[in-house]
């Protein structure tokens, strides 16, 4: 659409993007700065930008007055387990669907495609009944098991593996390698971009997941971060904004760091895994 991408000819566009970026990022800056303010300063009219009396009290209260350490550990354990499960199981199925011939393959793929579009809200009632009958309410397995695999991951992996050269697999077969060995030694090392994309999306999805933990985690020591924060922020008590800002900052920063580290692979992965 535009030809000249020179900096001088496009200064207005840079200006526009910078303004847009400021609008997008302001809430974060506000949140992080707010986490260092006292509750009374946060209530002040007109609001202040920089904290007048910077304090770490909000962060220390998170851990002393709430069990934030527990929520943090729960969120991390669940997100890591769900991510590892999806990466492993979905890549296995992706390989089988893309490169192997076996009876039932078409049925399985149709089943996966069919459930791809079913929203979470449809299944949470029967899923809760199931998990309750298994005795897994308020447990980490109850939070992890329903998300250990997903149709999206399989679809993504299958699409990516279909794009790999078939000759690699054929050659290894002729050399006498078994399918499991081919998967582990040949396919797995080539899945980098797809793994990065699925890994980031799954980790983010799990870390920020809200509805299911809200349903299944009903006691203080099984809360994940978003649930704890939501329940605390909508409680009956006078809202303590300082504490909430600090809590929100603690929720966002880990995933922001994870994303910053892997974003290059993520963008590359989106472009090559066929999510477009």
């Amino acid at each position: 659409m535009f030809q000249d991408t020179g900096f001088r000819r496009r200064w207005w566009l840079y200006l526009l993007l910078t303004v847009a970026l400021l609008v997008v990022v302001t809430p974060f800056v506000w949140m992080v700065l707010g986490s260092f303010k006292t509750s009374s300063e946060l209530r002040q009219v007109p609001p202040t930008w920089l904290p007048e009396h910077p304090t770490l009290d909000n962060f220390t209260s998170l851990f002393s007055r709430l069990s934030f350490g527990t929520y943090f550990a729960n969120s991390t354990l669940v997100a890591v387990a769900v991510t590892v499960g999806n990466l492993l199981f979905c890549s296995m199925v992706g390989y089988a669907l893309a490169m192997l011939n076996f009876r039932g393959k078409k049925v399985i793929f149709a089943l996966i495609l069919g459930t791809l579009m079913i929203p979470g809200v449809v299944t949470f009632v029967p899923l809760f009944v199931l998990v309750a009958n298994m005795g897994l309410v308020n447990t980490l397995p109850g939070l992890i098991l329903p998300f250990l695999v997903g149709p999206f991951g399989v679809f993504l992996m299958r699409q990516f593996i279909m794009g790999l050269p078939r000759d690699l697999v054929e050659a290894a077969r002729i050399d006498g390698a078994g399918e499991v060995k081919i998967f582990l030694r040949i396919i797995l090392p080539l899945l980098g971009p797809a793994m990065a994309t699925l890994g980031i999306l799954t980790f983010l999805g799990s870390w920020n997941n809200f509805l299911w933990p809200l349903v299944v985690a009903q006691t203080n020591n099984s809360y994940t971060l978003p649930v704890a924060l939501a329940l605390y922020s909508t409680g009956q008590n006078q809202t303590e904004y300082g504490l909430l800002m600090a809590g929100a900052t603690v929720v966002v920063l880990p995933v922001l760091v994870v994303f910053l580290i892997f974003q290059r692979h993520f963008i590359q992965g989106i472009a090559t895994t066929g999510i477009k």
């Binding site: 993007l17 949140m31 209530r43 296995m92 949470f124 009632v125 009958n133 002729i174 929720v251 910053l260």
Partner: protein
């Protein structure tokens, strides 16, 4: 990896595979072996609940029947009839449609504009801007809610403070039946446009620069180039983003749950949120019927959008 091509003729050599059918059997076994762990989890935790939700929606189970979910009264379409007659559900359905009809086009326009500006308009700091615009997507909705509730506070909020500078007396955004929905939509657009932007960026790579240059030489302005060259090529991408955004917005739940609790006066309650509410009251049968209604609407809309995708796309 480095399989010598010379190995090709020695077909009979491998010990594990003596004949074609033996190989096929091994492949069959490996296929199932690799699929089995996924399949078990998938059947138990995804497929089974999907089937069961239909069953539940025809029954009248409440909290106490959880241990024997099948020893229940069949009420057939009673729950559905109740849903259609329920004024709160009608309001929730209306709000959900409002959210989709206004929110989806806004999200797509902002996402596309950002993607085009980043892809073709600028050369420096592209990665920096891309990351900046994507940050809201990474953020937990609950953190977003905390900050936005604060920004939208009628007295000490930043939004009304800024409006005050130019002499506008801002409303009580989340406390007003008129402004609560627009506030939630603005927040949703802010939070979600980054996803569309990334996918559009991938789609725009497919637009050949020579074609744009040729159009430019022929005297086409930026808008004409967009309309006649870029848009037809990225059409499948636009439809993909449209379908996924619509499905996401039809499930509109977290925003009202953490921002307004559906209020004031049910003006922001959504179909998903009402489902959750009924569930938490223990009306599992009714909640299942509601969620199934949402699913049917999503399926219909998806089917319509896919029809367009296959007709006009390739």
């Amino acid at each position: 990896m480095s399989a010598p091509t010379a190995a090709r003729p020695q077909k009979a050599a491998p010990r594990t595979r003596t004949s074609r059918s033996g190989g096929a059997r091994l492949e069959e076994r490996a296929g199932w072996l690799l699929t089995l762990p996924f399949l078990l989890l998938f059947l138990v935790f995804t497929a089974w609940p999907v089937i069961q939700s239909v069953f539940f929606s025809f029954t009248d189970i409440r909290n106490k029947d959880l241990r024997t979910p099948f020893a229940v009264d069949f009420v057939w379409f009673e729950q559905y009839a109740k849903a259609f007659a329920d004024p709160v559900f009608q309001q929730a359905a209306f709000n959900t449609i409002y959210f989709v009809v206004v929110g989806v086009p806004l999200t797509i326009i902002v996402a596309l504009a950002a993607a085009i500006a980043l892809n073709n308009g600028i050369s420096r700091f592209r990665a920096f801007f891309r990351l900046g615009f994507y940050t809201p997507v990474i953020t937990s909705i609950v953190a977003v809610a905390v900050v936005w509730r604060f920004l939208l506070h009628p007295d000490s909020g930043l939004v009304n403070t800024v409006l005050g500078w130019i002499g506008i007396n801002g409303p009580n955004w989340l406390g007003s039946t008129t402004w609560a929905m627009p506030s939630l939509i603005a927040m949703a657009v802010w939070r979600n446009f980054g996803t569309g932007m990334i996918i559009f960026l991938a789609g725009l790579q497919a637009v050949p620069t020579q074609l744009l240059e040729a159009a430019s030489i022929d005297g086409a302005g930026p808008w004409q180039r967009f309309r006649n060259v870029v848009l037809p090529i990225i059409r499948p991408t636009v439809l993909f983003v449209m379908v996924t955004t619509t499905i996401g917005y039809l499930q509109f739940f977290e925003e009202p749950f953490v921002m307004t609790k559906g209020g004031p006066l049910n003006s922001t309650i959504s179909a998903s949120m009402y489902t959750y509410q009924q569930f938490s009251f223990g009306n599992y049968g009714f909640a299942a019927a509601l969620s199934y209604l949402i699913f049917v609407v999503i399926a219909i809309i998806t089917a319509i959008q896919f029809k367009f995708l296959s007709e006009k796309g390739d």
